[in-house]
Subunit: 134 residues, 2 copies
Amino acid sequence: MDCKHQPGAGWRNGHHCHCPGTRVERFVQPCLLLLLHENVSHGYELMDRLAEFGFDHEPIDVGAVYRVLRKMEEEGWVESSWDTTGAGPARRCYRLTAEGVELLHAWAANVEHSRRRLEHFLNRYRQTFPQRTS
Amino acid sequence: MDCKHQPGAGWRNGHHCHCPGTRVERFVQPCLLLLLHENVSHGYELMDRLAEFGFDHEPIDVGAVYRVLRKMEEEGWVESSWDTTGAGPARRCYRLTAEGVELLHAWAANVEHSRRRLEHFLNRYRQTFPQRTS
DNA sequence: GACAGGTATATGTATAACACATATATAGTA
DNA sequence: TACTATATATGTGTTATACATATACCTGTC
């Protein structure tokens, strides 16, 4: 690898960097659902809180977060209202719906399945390359 | 959830099913790299072997496997040659290059990172919903 | 009062990944 | 002959992603 990019850097956009992406794609969605279950919140704040889920070393796509939130509202998984209290621009505050909670549970089962799959890969990889086991 | 689909079933194609997909997208690529490190093989056989990585319950996209293999050859991570021995149609046999092995190592680090992220999500989810912990 | 910087939401766009369908060919077997 | 398994490949519409840009509000400061 002749590339010092953080994993996930834009290798698909003609940068000729072939580092594999780190994204468990659409993983931002279950994270948002879980965060919103914990607290009513708005996009800008959620972006900070997403860092706790391991999005800290790859810069978050701001646009994606807002789009995912709007999409989830379209689907009825969250609801929003404007919060004009406090300083600064108005915040679109999201809260989870009952359907959103159901989706969160479905996601959890799903993430568990994915986790097992990654673990299987890693076990097999380490068996093949024991010297690389950290 | 009013949907009995296996996770990963085509919810994006107008089926109006909102089950989250299971795909750790592009995960098929590191699996192919690892499989090819273990054995020289061809697409049709690799599809069977992918089942060992947890692609068994979601039907594999045949086209995707062949396309990923060709793409990887373009990039120089694998090389192929026709195998006309044995019965049946000719098989395009792939083997890993040195660069492919390097990519595999990069992927492994990456998958480990993803696994940690999923684990963090699950820990946090289980903390919130202890009664759902299996 | 102008202006910089932090907060906050939103859209534009090109490319890549994806799901699903379809096409083609070889060879064994019922 | 028809059917099935093996094997590779392409077509196509939709979604996801990365990165850029636009807009607006508010506070502090020069």
